[in-house]
Symmetry: C2
Subunit: 340 residues, 2 copies
């Protein structure tokens, strides 16, 4: 049976989920997958709605019915969820260790077309998928035992994507991840010294130091100063806002636009690389004060998978990046793309 | 030029090292390497001593000369070092960010034979390689600007090993990695509550809960309670000792023996898997009190690379493991191996 277990030293949580071993591509040893076979029977494709759990929400054409073709973005529970609905967490302490039920939610936001990458979807479908993520984050945050909602998009087998059809995954967790707690501490500490938001200051600094890739009225995309991978890109809202789900109606289209353009530049410049990306945002239903949370600034981090982290990275979190972010920004600025 | 840069939010350090792009296997996009070609001209093989920087130390047969054949373990600087000798750190603060020189050392400890994995080396050569690591850790710790020495062994291209010849890498760092600081905090906090070492208690608990794989008089190998990967294995000294470099003469042979047996079990049971492994030990020359450091307990962590960490793991450090560590220990206990 699935459960959360906490490492008593680092306090990191692990999800022990033996039933996830049944999902496509999760073999004892990773074997090369037959991509064509997956494509023909892709459970995320229009027409294959029966292959997934029933939909939670969708954007669809007029007259189209739920769980039938005619949608452009479709949200449903992961067929092999790492987190599931539970009435209680059942937190147990056994001697040294803590464990608890895998309470939460694990959902898929499928985009319309089976393309090689999300970059090749239309701006309008990407916009709808962001709206779907925003809506599900808001809805899931109403469940009081949920403490953090993590939205990710993996692309390519090398980045761990078991299904190539472009999609987001939403993980509603009953805990605040250590990494988020550290970022919140970092923003609070910075605020106390500088009386400003570190992310807002990072935006100014990136402009001064030629790490900007592109920007529009509401968002900016740049390579971060301490990039952990070649061509790492962050997308930040220019408006200081702690929570992703508060992205407003004026901002969603510009967000879809800049996100697509960044992905297109990576796709064209690096020949369709695998990448991992995620949204970092504020915890929900937490005991942290609203003052503390207000220092935070939601953002997107995109990490192309161009190298493999070894024993240095895994054992220390000190990462070697063989390219300066200034060079990466220059390269990506010069990749010409057309977006619509 | 190479430099350390600190993320101002998480406080993690990154090594920006453009010259590492020249090392074998570091292409813009990872292409399948020609393993045979690497083998013929392996710079770590006996007879190819001219292909590496001059040796720092070696175990060799009587009469054999430095930098010539006749050795069983050979230590030399990495040809593409991520860290180099420098007289000063030159720590600079520019607006939001900190950076400093890549001061330190980056060395290779090559084992005698070009085998597919370290598991297939003899116990005596593994013992010598541990002695070499211990000696270099002691020597490097005499340099006052060095704060942490990290010993790793990557095996297999999937785990990021660019050269398949079995070897250790030693990174002497001018900083204490965040991950080590967190482990030290964790051991101190546990001690203050329980008046005992958390790792010593983990040994007892692993025995009670059938996660032990094997043990001898001085060491024990088991799968940790909150395993982050399938078949993750920790090797702990039964004697409470904060520092790896204090492993004593009675212990080195039993350590080589258990380490080899664990690797043989992984090699046989999982068909020569890629893995990352590293030693976690105490910082050197640090401002931390000796009382705080005494709570720590050095150990080895081995992480087979059987799955890929995606946006959940990279963005939160919450890891999904599709196998319970109890199951993994049972499987590895039952893999029969012969060691000598």
């Amino acid at each position: 049976m699935s459960e959360f277990r906490q490492d008593p030293i680092t306090k990191n949580w692990v999800i022990i989920a033996p039933e996830r071993a049944k999902r496509p591509g999760a073999f004892k040893r990773k074997k090369k997958r037959d991509e064509r076979k997956l494509k023909c029977t892709c459970p995320f494709c229009e027409g294959n709605e029966k292959m997934t759990p029933p939909e939670i929400m969708a954007f669809r054409k007029k007259g189209a019915k739920p769980n039938e073709p005619g949608w452009t973005v479709r949200v449903f529970e992961n067929k092999f969820p790492a987190l599931i609905k539970n009435k209680s967490l059942d937190l147990r302490s056994s001697n040294i260790y803590l464990n608890m039920k895998t309470l939460g939610a694990h959902e898929i936001v499928a985009l319309h077309k089976h393309k090689e990458c999300m970059a090749r979807e239309s701006v309008s479908v990407i916009k709808e998928s962001i709206e779907a993520c925003k809506k599900r984050c808001s809805q899931l945050s109403r469940e009081v035992l949920i403490k953090y909602i993590h939205v990710i998009q993996n692309q390519g087998a090398r980045a761990g994507a078991s299904i190539s059809h472009p999609h987001f995954q939403i993980f509603a967790l009953p805990l605040i991840p250590q990494m988020i707690l550290r970022e919140i501490d970092g923003t609070e500490e910075y605020y106390k010294i500088h009386k400003s938001c570190v992310y807002c200051d990072i935006i100014k600094e990136a402009k001064d130091n030629s790490r900007v890739i592109l920007e529009n009225e509401y968002f900016i995309a740049f390579t971060p100063y301490a990039s952990r991978s070649q061509y790492e890109v962050w997308i930040l809202s220019k408006r200081h806002e702690p929570r992703f789900e508060k992205v407003n109606n004026l901002e969603i289209k510009p967000l879809a636009d800049i996100w697509k353009k960044v992905l297109l530049k990576l796709d064209k410049g690096l020949e369709n690389p695998a990448y991992n990306s995620y949204i970092h945002t504020c915890p929900v239903n937490s005991d942290l004060s609203s003052e503390t949370l207000n220092f935070y600034h939601w953002h997107i981090e995109i990490l192309p998978k161009l190298s493999i982290w070894g024993g240095l990275e895994l054992g220390t979190e000190v990462v070697i990046n063989i390219q300066s972010p200034e060079e990466a920004a220059k390269f990506l600025r010069n990749v010409k793309v057309k977006s619509r």
